[in-house]
Symmetry: C2
Subunit: 243 residues, 2 copies
Amino acid sequence: MSPVACAACPLRKRTIFTPFTAEEVVFMQKFKVGELSVDRGTTILMEGSNSPQLYTVLRGQGIRYKTLENGRRQVINFLFPGDFAGLQAGLMGEMKHSVEASSDMVLCVFDRGELWQMFRAQPGRAYDLTWISAVEEHFLGETIASLGQRDATQRVAWALLRMYERLSAVGLAVEGAVPLPFRQQDLADALGLSLVHTNKTLARLRELQLLNWRDGRLHIPARSELAKLALVDLEKPEIRPLM
Amino acid sequence: MSPVACAACPLRKRTIFTPFTAEEVVFMQKFKVGELSVDRGTTILMEGSNSPQLYTVLRGQGIRYKTLENGRRQVINFLFPGDFAGLQAGLMGEMKHSVEASSDMVLCVFDRGELWQMFRAQPGRAYDLTWISAVEEHFLGETIASLGQRDATQRVAWALLRMYERLSAVGLAVEGAVPLPFRQQDLADALGLSLVHTNKTLARLRELQLLNWRDGRLHIPARSELAKLALVDLEKPEIRPLM
DNA sequence: CGCGGGGTATGTCGCAGTTAAATGCGCGCG
DNA sequence: CGCGCGCATTTAACTGCGACATACCCCGCG
């Protein structure tokens, strides 16, 4: 059965940051897999283009977004180490979204055309990918629920809390702070709010000492009630102070 | 390479409604795959439960939803022939969403535990599943964009148009009408709108002869400008009449 | 027959969230 | 040095959408 633990990159079965094994190097060569380093601000995938590459994030953060017909931008999700990108357009055809590096990034790249060969040679990779897709889909579902049913405060709290936990789990927390190199506009576009309102909400959360996000680093105090806030409906009077 | 056309069910490489081939029957037995018929209203998957089964829809429609902490419900997507359900919870663990039959349904069922064996024996299935996931993910991304950036009218227009096209493509359109056995409340919960507001929006779209949804059947007039409406921003004066 | 429940249809009102516009602040650059 | 530019912040005025209330329709049921 071998229920592989979250294997983010086809190259890595274990965790994100381990060095390559000899076996993995052979695999890399066979399937034309390589590493790619990009600078902050680089557009890795562009909507409308026809990229034959797939990526997994090894280090750094990025955002995956889509530009609508009316010019507005929707950030679909944020990319962290372990995430996958490039599949969304289907197994072929042009990309339906863009990916941009919010910090310097290191990516694991391989060819979409090799996927079929890879699955045949290594069914375990297919299993990994299915797993990753399932988790990804789960989070997209959560996001939909957030956009559809929660108010601004809950959305902001939920999003930041989730990112915080996600990055902490990968060991990126330093003294209770985690790197989050996004602009407030990125967060606003992800949550379907205006920049102004996002800002106000952040200010309130900061006042209440529920979180602190400055200079690209997010800090959440030890006994922060943020989790409650993100989940519980604000109707509840005991949480009400938030407004 | 064999870029398999959208193979909805592990049992069917071609289209949705073809009968099983002898080869497929052998496959069914080997991997303990079966068919399941359920009545309208049946809850197929329940959030919190621990179902070991995966499903693909062969016939009928359903909704996949999630109940939030505050009691509100978010419909994540609607299920049509060809759609996949049951994976979202990850490859194991309890379901994070529920699935309910909106009409009588016929499902293709198989065991999550067989997935690994199946992938090993038939890499093509893994490829299919990856494809399906990619398409699914694409639509979830679209939904997120809709919830985040579009107003009520655009959301309703977009959602109904998409379903209409989807079902037409599978040949379910009869005289320009397509079966859509959902309540307005379901649509509202999917779009993050109140029932009342959804209703009013539908009324306006009906007045403008852009669509007609009655008695579980959706009709869209041949030269309906619905598509424009769903995509173009209402700022444009020529579309403005809608308000 | 009357009664109740589920779904649909409309009107009014208030607030959360939007749009617009202006200020401050740090940084790279001619 | 001072100008421009990206980003964060703040204030003020407007509005889309949700909450609530009410009414209608169809159908099954005692």
